[in-house]
Point group: C2
């Protein structure tokens, strides 16, 4: 879920007009929030909830998951892009807002998309008349709540999408599965953060659940399910989606350590300071000699880590070969994803956009 | 949502066998968690999530909302108690687990049902190898996550209840409405806590959204919707549910200040220390003279409040007449609820259990 930097998928010339789709997804979100604002005003309820979510949703974001949902719909032979499909796609973005807001609390993050995170912004807004700790706690409480609202409204967007009963019955199990998977991914992430180990299997499981399934595979499946695709068709999509999703997160891990903050909008200290249990760090710990391992353990997860400490970690990630190994893993997985496309019977428009995505997701700098 | 003390609704001799229904609801919850445990084990995912939720759900709770759902089903002429209705009822309890776990973080509460709250218990469990603040933060993060899981699984319980498409279509809007309402109630609660004012309207709005609608009215509506009841029938249920729900919360507010912790399982300091914006406190502020108001402002919401300070507040709540006024509000609302039953055309079994509930909810000591 950290994988939200920058603006790839800006493929204006693609056969599927992604920028136009993105506008329609944003319109669906905006209209839903407008309805919610009107309802709140009518009942004398605070406008802050809808306005905060509006600000969060429109402060950035690539709309990756909703676009993949629409691509999955087309891949499975869905015609046009009906409003109901778009509204399900929009519901994935609302769910993602929930996930990011809560994720930022759990990660104790200060910034997201170049702005203060929800809990920080809400603490500032309500600081007047409260003690510092009380305002900070209120910021966290309010961000938990606004995340909860986003999750509940993701459901409502889905329930009111205007799906046929058969479509709803087909798509609900996929959505439920996706949600449980991302929760487990987050759980693995949370309990390993701060205590990184050489366990690469565990790090790959986090990558798989938190990103590959959540951000790539399941959005494609959801769109395909809306178009009536069965398990065999979805399995074919997974052959592409899972290696690509892993590669996408591995690239994200590298950007979190080696990226340009001016481009990614995110600190290159935070992941290291938090001690995120990434494949990159696990590989370094595995291949380090005793002295290197001692240094890594002292620095990774150290809340006082500074720029020079981070530089030392980077030299160790390079020196142990972990950095190069992750680049290799990315190449292998991208090749697997492309091979899956070569062997697939998807419509050419879908193949073309999925091929472009495979390139962008693995070579991006933001 | 604070309204979960004790064990009223223990009406063994009632025409609707509530204890038997409660056992079936618990069985539905336990079976669902068993499925989730097996699935997690199969995928090598942590058992902690399901085991924690199981411990939380079975550490207490009156099952008020699921029972009201079943009562609503019977009130609207539903026959027997089919497994699908029970599973929807169980989904309300799973949603309530979510609400309580997040509520306790927002309220910074230490205990719930006589046990450490989720975020406190999870901090202890993961303290090894972490600094104090890091473990506390992890406890909060893990409790946010486990609450999120409960919400997602509440959805899954509902989606897999085996409802007919028409039933699902009827019930989803009521569920969505309930969830948005309780979120707004929580929002009002959160932004007013610590800064209580003489604004009784605002305090009554919190009562209405956080308890009356969420805990009484909507569960009845959900059961009635499953049985095919339309808006007019549901409005009739509201005539009973809303005044009773208000009275229920007003009683809860009194128990939170005057209750016996050995019976309620909850501190009589916490609400006052947090500065909860209750009708009780709002009325006291409204009717206080200048000196009394100054004392109330200094003590209510003071994080260092001790027993003798709480005693001073109680004397002021008595002296301003606020305590007696809240007792009066409870009596008036209970009478309204009973009058609504007198004028209703509900089946006698439903009327009998709703009448008993009206008495228990307003006169309880736990």
């Amino acid at each position: 879920m950290g994988s939200t930097r920058g603006t790839f998928l800006d493929v204006t010339a693609a056969p599927l007009d992604l920028p136009a789709l993105r506008s329609r997804i944003d319109l669906a979100l905006a209209e839903f929030l407008d309805e919610k604002s009107r309802a709140a005003a009518m009942h004398g309820l605070p406008a802050e909830v809808t306005e905060f979510l509006r600000g969060f949703l429109f402060s950035g974001g690539k709309r990756l998951r909703p676009l993949l949902c629409v691509i999955g719909w087309h891949a499975a032979g869905g015609h046009g892009t009906p409003a109901s499909t778009l509204r399900v796609a929009a519901s994935l973005e609302m769910f993602h807002a929930f996930a990011l807001i809560h994720d930022d609390i759990m990660d104790n993050s200060d910034t997201r998309r170049g702005f203060p995170t929800a809990h920080r912004a809400l603490a500032e807004r309500h600081r007047a008349g409260r003690s510092g700790p009380a305002a900070d706690r209120l910021g966290i409480g309010a961000a938990i709540l606004i995340g909860d609202v986003a999750l509940v409204w993701a459901d409502e967007l889905l329930h009111t999408a205007g799906l046929r009963p058969g479509q709803l019955a087909d798509v609900l199990p996929v959505i439920d599965t996706m949600r449980t998977e991302v929760m487990y991914g987050q759980c693995l992430d949370l309990i390993t953060t701060g205590l990184p180990t050489p366990d690469t299997e565990r790090a790959l499981a986090i990558t798989r659940y938190k990103t590959a399934k959540y951000s790539i595979e399941r959005p494609l499946h959801i769109g395909a399910a809306l178009a009536g695709a069965g398990p065999a068709f979805r399995a074919g999509l997974s052959d592409y989606a899972l290696p690509l999703g892993d590669a996408f997160q591995l690239r994200d891990d590298l950007l979190g350590v080696y990226g340009d903050p001016a481009v990614t909008g995110k600190s290159v200290l935070e992941d290291l300071r938090d001690g995120k249990h990434t494949v990159l760090v696990a590989l370094a710990l595995r291949h380090a000699d005793r002295a290197q391992r001692r240094t890594l353990r002292a620095l990774v997860g150290n809340p006082d880590l500074d720029d020079s400490g981070a530089d030392r970690i980077r030299r160790l990630l390079d020196g142990t070969g972990a950095h190069a190994a992750v680049e290799h893993l990315i190449r292998v997985r991208r090749a697997q994803a492309e091979q899956a496309l070569d062997q697939s019977f998807l419509p050419p428009t879908a193949i073309s956009v999925l091929r472009e995505l495979a390139q962008d997701a693995t070579t991006r700098s933001a």
